[in-house]
Symmetry: C2
Subunit: 324 residues, 2 copies
DNA sequence: CTGAAAGCGCTTACAG
DNA sequence: CTGAAAGCGCTTACAG
């Protein structure tokens, strides 16, 4: 055994004076080995700090299933809430989860290659990088989470249609007449959900102004909301692209001395846990993370077994709280 | 190639009419292959949906470094904030991160075995499970995050001492006389940080009442705080075991019609991002996640290279905001 | 209860 | 530019 190199099964076999497969028996709690021999082997293993190579073992056993989970920015609580659910359910079904934050990555190419090589199935939000990723992943199966357009890959989509309609009806019923939709999209064009909200409000008789934030952060949203509420004819409701932005809006309203929901109503999208902790608690269109995670794992299992890509859809649910 | 089985390098070689190492050259963008041959190989690979086995490759290349990150409960934002930082910095240094939530796991044994086999180094909060885990991990190196007592493993500790003292001084200077420490610990005995806060307050002339929550959730904290503020002689400050509990306290105060910080001051520990978004913004003892993650990765690299376990300490920092 | 042989899927020298 | 050989570290039958 070379100095500094990791011990292999052969090193342990030599140290214990047995054959390789006897070492394998001892390490894996297999039958057909005397207690005495087993102890001797385990002692030698410990002495050499022996750890079976996951590659050697995986080559013959097939290895464990590894799911590559790609999120956009773990600093938005949406990502960890989803990741938490996926990690929990994945563990129950025997998948390991390799977590990759593509939003913060300096070296996206390396991460991509890493996912391609290390994960059996990749699942995630690719956003506008979809095209490049689809190439970079090669033959590694991909499940797209809420893809913008059509996709040849498996996908789990979110459908806000019904919840958006319910929210619009609720707002209008409570007297909202000048709603502002605080959208977020890199290109400056309305996002799909931004457009859906605007359309629903219009249908219910309260045409909305549409504003675009260049980044979907609380800070951006707070800054834009602070400006909007200072105008001569301020909005009487703000529906934000996501809960994080809605929190920023709440913060701006508070600093502007506005009472929510009396002076202005605020709603977000995502259904983050934190929305129930803030003051006022946040009305939102909630995603059922459990359902998304379950669907995702079902699709992943199918892909891994060589089945063709499937598609699922999860609907948002209107959760009325204090803010709207 | 068997029906349903994954294509191997040999299948591609046969389909393309070349040898295995020519396939390897094509797949890995190595030199010494004609453009024509390469295209033919890549075509065959695509046709067969060929994906190089990470085990076959890892066996000869040594494979990528895999860090097993163990968190206690991803639903507490502390875990994802830490995970986010670790994932980001780990990616920069070429580590993959396998994320495991031990708090939510049904089958901790399987997860442990999985970690032992799949990760090169395991890092995490083991809490009261330390003993069992240390055995279960076998020879896989472990870095304990903020271990309670002494440990033979590498560790990154958090040290609240100075920040706690600064907080106590601040509270007392602002007239606090009847502080309540809302602690959390499974055994009902004061936690290390609970005791540190109590001692610091006593030193500064404001002996505190110590209350134990059985779980460190916002809900538990809210319930206990709601009771405490209803008493004849309510506390004039609450320092919570962590930010999540402090958020629960804020919520309880709000529902009780108390103004924070005028009627009662509230502080937490952790420095969660969300603390800056709530109303009022939360005073806290912040952990520098970047420093923790950097230290962790440094220790992990050392362990992987066979060096002996090291120990680091990261100090909390008092962040004064509106709530105290 | 123990061991000799074969093989998992890949890459790395080395020949040609 | 291409291929035959060896070997990475393990487990799975199969003999004894």
């Amino acid at each position: 055994m070379a100095r500094g190199a990791r011990a292999t099964i052969v090193d342990v076999a030599e140290a214990a004076g047995v054959s390789r497969q006897t070492v394998s028996r001892a390490m894996n709690d297999l039958p057909g080995i005397s207690a005495d021999t087993k102890r001797r082997v385990l002692d030698a293993a410990q002495r050499l700090a022996y750890r079976p190579s996951r590659f050697g073992r995986g080559l013959v056993t097939g290895g464990e299933r590894q799911l590559g989970l790609v999120v956009n920015d773990l600093r938005n609580p949406y990502s960890p809430e989803l990741a938490a659910t996926v990690v929990r359910l994945a563990a129950d079904e025997g998948w390991n989860v390799m977590l990759v934050d593509i939003g913060l990555a300096k070296d996206a190419d390396r991460l991509l290659a890493s996912l391609r090589d290390q994960a059996d199935v990749v699942v995630g939000y690719l956003g506008e990088r979809s095209a490049g990723w689809e190439d970079g992943l090669g033959a590694t199966p991909l499940i797209q989470l809420d893809p913008g357009g059509d996709t040849v890959h498996a996908s789990v989509r979110l459908d806000p249609t019904r919840a958006v309609d319910a929210l619009a009806a609720h707002l209008v019923a409570h007297g909202v007449r000048r709603p502002l939709v605080l959208d977020a999209s890199a290109q400056g064009a309305p996002s799909a959900r931004g457009a859906a909200i605007r359309d629903a409000l219009a249908r219910h008789g309260a045409p909305a102004e549409l504003l675009h934030a260049s980044a979907s952060t609380a800070e951006h949203a707070a800054a834009m909301a602070a400006q909007a509420v200072r105008r001569a004819s301020p909005p009487d409701a703000v529906v934000a692209f996501n809960d994080l932005m809605a929190l920023g809006v709440l913060s701006a309203c508070r600093h502007a001395g506005l009472d929510v929901p009396r002076d202005i109503r605020v709603a977000g999208i995502d259904g983050l846990t934190i929305g129930a902790l803030v003051a006022p608690t946040l009305t939102t269109l909630a995603v059922d993370f459990d359902e998304v995670a379950r669907d995702t794992l079902a699709l992943a299992a199918a892909l891994r077994d060589g089945e063709s890509p499937q598609h699922r859809t999860v609907a948002h649910r209107l959760v009325l709280r204090e803010s709207a």
